[in-house]
Amino acid sequence: MNIIHITLGILLGGAILTYFANKISGVVRDLMFISTIVVAAALFFIKMTPDTVAVFNLGGITLSLGMNHLGLLFSIIILGLAVLAGFYSLPYMKGKDNLGFFYMNYLLSIFGMMGIVMSKDLVSFFIFWEIMTWSSYLIVVYNGNKANKIGIKYILFSALGAYSMLMAIVMVYSQLHSFSIADLSAGFTTMPASYQITIALLLITGFAVKAAMMPLHVWAPDAYSNAPMSYTAMFSGALSKMGVYGLVIVFVTMVSHLPQNFWVRETIAWLGAITAGMATIYAIFQDDAKKLLAYSSVAQLGYIITGVAIGTEISMIAALMLSIVHGMFKANFFMVVGAVERQAGTTDLTVLTGLIRKMPWTFFSALMSAIALAGIPPLVGYVGKWMLYESLISNGNYILVIVIFFASTAGFLYVFKILYSIFLGQEEPEFENVKEAPALMVIPMVIIALLLGFFGAFPGYLLKYIDNALVVMGYPVSQGKWWEMTTLFNAWGNKVSTDLIMYTTITVFVTIAIVLFYRWKNGRYVSTKDISLSGEMPKEDENYSFKLDFYKPFERAISPLLRYKISKYYNEFADGMEAFFDWTRRIYNGNAQTYAIYVITFLVILLLIANNIFTV
């Protein structure tokens, strides 16, 4: 009985108890839910030491769980977000149906994720992976909206990934007669080359689905936007990182041993970059905040995949840094949209307008997340991006840099679009009575927003954990070489001082702000209807906000790229398969004579060819 049993036990037990607590009363359920997360997280961070091990024997298979620094890094993302999003969830989900069911699956998916990062062997990895998958699936379809379309798409791709993984797992077993991950990394080189490459590719496929890599990403936008936002914060922030976690392991322990001529790294890095580019473009043209953020998540994961695939020291640091930071700002962004959805009743960007004065704290969180997302200094978002560029340039992937840079710059477009459409623009009577979200929702958001700033000045606090994690994976210590507490270095020794950047920014900002606030009384606030518009004054009920066809010129400029939509090919494939299935169904035409003919024909054929297939 050690901390691993305890953490997993609390999460699993808490999930089941929460479900039954729902039968007693809503308050008990909420308390059960939040205390499960908080207690599990607190105990975990207090008690957990690397090298803790727990072993189970099930069905003749040894399942071993343990913890190392890589797992610890991802546990921080998972449990940190779980606590914040958990508190956020209480007011957000209030009054919805089936909350016991929702919270149970919420906890189960955390249970699954924690299990994944603790798994020391492939079978328990797979078990927890599937628990995570189906519990998240149940949340994706939870609100019943197009369950059979969105949900099935999600589960189909997830199952595709999971089964690729399973195939790889049994292939490993057939070669090494062990499921242990340690044995796998030790014995990988002893396998035949064909097995090596197949196993690596299958595992990559499995993880790439969760990390939403093109062309396996088509489930993501719908699934992200369809789940309740308090879960999507986890979904996009932490759950997708499990794919990254897997990719890190695969690339470090396997792909690095593959012969160079398979181009695995290059292919995946390029797929990641293309994912980033295309998803960004699609994000720009979304008119629903959830969808926009969903595509944006896919795009951001693209950068991370590229970083992992390149696999140099600094690109790994960059990828892990981006993972953490993406977890923070994207969770925050989804929470913002959730808050807006709850308070204003819609997430349609063409309807929402002018909420900044109604929801100032929400706007503040959104602004900070947006700056971090766009990778603009001084917030922490740029640390990871900076490192990614440096790694790509010093590694010789010049065209890749351009693609990523394009995606990143185009990212400004949707960042502005979402901020502008929700919070800025003309204030409308329709949203006059909108209030700021409840404190329990605002506080987690503001905490993340402030953390984004803090880590922007002192990225070393995060890089320390990343360093530990990479040392476990066999990389040399990076502190001092690639970063100090407040300084980043690239391969050629050039540096960026994050603290000075932060101080400069604050100094300039505060100075000018003082200038602006000087003689504040002279300033006069006027409503957004009081604008200069060719001498016209919009009436109260007229909305002059610019909403529709937001980036039409940009759309026209890149129209050739938009012509290819991967989901079209998938749909055609699915239709074809369905038609084929329906055709095979007709073999069973319900006619007894036909069946008898089948039997006789089969007998005759078998008799005819028996001598060829059976050897006496």
Binding site: T409, L424, K495, I512
Partner: protein
Amino acid sequence: MDFLIKTLGAIATIIVAFIVGMLYMGINRKITARVQNRVGPPVWQNYIDALKLVSKKTSVHHGVMQHLAPAFLMISSMGTLLFIPILRGQSWFPNLSYHGDLIFILYFMVLGSLGMALGAGQTGNPNAAIGITRGLSQMVGFEIPWVMALVAMMIQYHTTSISDLMAIQQQHGWLMFQNPLAFLAAILAMLGMFRYSPFDIVGAPAELASGPISEFGGKYLGLMMSSGSIFAFTKLTLYVDLFMGGASNIVVLLIETFTLYLIPMLYGLVSPRYRTEQAIRYFWGWPTVLGLAALVYSVVI
């Protein structure tokens, strides 16, 4: 003491940038007028304008984001200025130039635009929002050749530091001759960066009533003008540092920056405005090809 000197140096840098930037704007106005067969305002007209705007008694705003927009703008213009070397090989105005590199600068320069965009967005003026979407779209356009040019130089000399690049140019000669393709791509990108005609689609006086800034008046407009002129000087200095080896003293710096400044200005005088998608496609045409060629060139070298 050291800190005090540095602070004073930074302030001096900013003042110089402000004065020079404003002067260039004034000259621009004058030359434009002459080309259009007008007399035009005197070159110091901009100083007067700025003074007048800042000293206006009342200022109208639509909310806190608009109120703070000039502050955001200043972060980019002043901040960036502090992180790039003004003069080569001298202890004058070193500021923070050893604490940031090119990629950082590239991103830092955007913060102001974002703040400005949000401020303009809050005004509720549709023209402002339209102008901003155009501006952002155009930025995606010109950033591509610009980054290509920068990456080409980075890989040619294995550094991302501006000071290092300047030092290297001391030995090998100006980069505009070492990698002319990169220079050309960067110059074409600069046309977009300065937003003069034919790329003045953001402000587009005729159709958008000057776009983003249409709701800004009084001290807001004054600060934005100042920021704009500082930023113009910042960008010009960056180009000089990167392609002309930096200037050894302030006079050379002025000559070099002004020469560069003439390029977008004169190109603008003879070109009618593009539509947004034309502008983007323009940048993804020859400038990008040049950028790619620069990349190839520097890999081969």
